[in-house]
Symmetry: C2
Subunit: 282 residues, 2 copies
């Protein structure tokens, strides 16, 4: 695939990396950036990540071939709706939001005829942020989940798949519901657990918190405001995961209360097997 | 301090590292090893980690100046009781068990007059095991918790402190109860959570488990049999930690169910602050 113009909404780490990856892989000749933070915008221009800065509904975005929203999950739907209303037929819209159901529903709702849209979620990130940390290899070898619905045209899926594959990603499709249920378990629940655990440690015991505790609380350092939006957006599935996790904790509790070593061993072995499958995939 | 003979019970990663560290720091001229696994014993001798292999109650152990039990927590007390019954007055006994209350109670119970004992827990380890991975720097800069009781002689504490400090460790004292309650929170609960989470992941979703999920389940790869002993030994305090954690999860659940973004943010910020204190100490 070769493309004339890519518009990125948000020029932070993800948007910036997307621009760099698209350029490095020859899929974008020109990159337009939309960025409300003047400091970010200035750096993205100075670093050559974007060629041009544009208002969200400016002509440069309206003429883009592909528009990718790389802003926080609570802003994506509104931005894509605004772009959809002014772009040309045949423009491909997508996003990188880590929740999909509410975004996909909102954008599909008012999608003008001929404008293509499918949700995306690249499983890629960094503990750094800002355009200065953007790199062209952020998506290489990573999984990108596409979330088509019954309303998604097969050609839209093909175009979005080709776009992400050109950046080196592996593409997997599932419904927005299945996606949100899956990431509630693989991403949002772990974040919640890390946060709950980190919040329990009294200051007097910080020197007893060794590698294991540090591994288990690393996620808790993530930006609280950003994660509040994600949790709020995916709260139904997160609650479902939390209930499942609570049931597993209850099994451990019962085994400990009745001092059943064999049952404790069984539960720990289940965890060991689960973790073993993961390493196999790594 | 200078010492004639160190006896290590168990010549695996911890015992082997202890021997190497004691030699490297000039605190042991001679190291006697007790090891029931012939393969481990052979390697420990071949690698020069121990000078001599001895039965648990053999004369070489009975003549040692300091005896450190580096075996799994469910074997430590029995071994130290056996050594205590045959060693000379003035011998210092200690251990590296990651739980302390049951070990300390059992060993103090029948301690012959003149034999010195205090429990130790070095917060040091590795995901590797066996004497071939033992190194002299395992304890350098690490915290070692000593767990004296009302029955512990101050001179015993001084000797044990000097021993661990000579290996480069930072020594902290607390009661066996306080220790076990603390590690239930900082070590055993994290292990339980990692295991519970790893056990929940369906095989169909392994490719969606990114860095965060991997961090949060790394501990689950630990040896299930070893951790069953630790959980069984510390089950009262582990249950206490689990109840505390359950209460925190309930707070998250209530905030999610009632869709209170401000409350979710507050809980996430508490985790962020807790994790922040930890980095400060690192």
């Amino acid at each position: 695939m070769t493309m004339q113009t890519l518009a990125i909404l948000g020029t932070g780490l993800i948007g910036g990396s997307l621009a760099r990856a698209a350029r490095a892989n020859g899929v974008a000749g020109r990159v337009v950036g939309v960025e409300h933070d003047p400091a970010h915008a200035g750096r993205a221009l100075a670093l050559g990540i974007i060629d041009e800065l544009s208002p969200l509904t400016g002509p440069a975005v309206a003429r883009a071939d592909i528009v990718v929203a790389c802003t926080p999950v609570d802003r994506i739907a509104g931005q894509l709706q605004a772009v959809a209303a002014c772009c040309r037929p045949g423009t491909l819209l997508t996003d990188v939001g880590s929740t999909k159901l509410s975004i996909v529903r909102a954008v599909e709702e008012g999608l003008p005829p001929g404008v293509l849209f499918v949700g995306s979620h690249p499983l890629a990130g960094s503990d750094k942020s800002g355009p200065e940390h953007a790199g062209p290899n952020l998506f290489a070898g990573r999984v990108v989940v596409l979330t088509p619905t019954a309303r998604t045209d097969p050609d839209t899926i093909r175009q979005a798949t080709a776009f992400w594959q050109a950046l080196g990603a592996r593409v997997r499709s599932m419904s927005p519901e299945d996606h949100d249920r899956a990431v509630a378990l693989t991403s949002h629940l772990p974040h919640l657990l890390a946060s709950a655990l980190a919040g329990m440690l009294p200051e007097t015991l910080t020197d007893l918190a060794a590698t294991g505790f540090r591994d288990m609380t690393r996620l808790a350092a993530g930006d609280a405001a950003l994660w509040t939006s994600i949790f709020a957006d995916n709260r139904a599935f997160l609650l479902e995961s939390l209930r499942g996790f609570g049931a597993t904790l209850d099994e451990f509790r019962a085994a400990l209360e009745s001092d059943e070593a064999a049952r404790i061993a069984e539960l720990l072995e289940r965890g060991e097997r689960g973790r073993g499958r993961l390493d196999w995939e790594a």
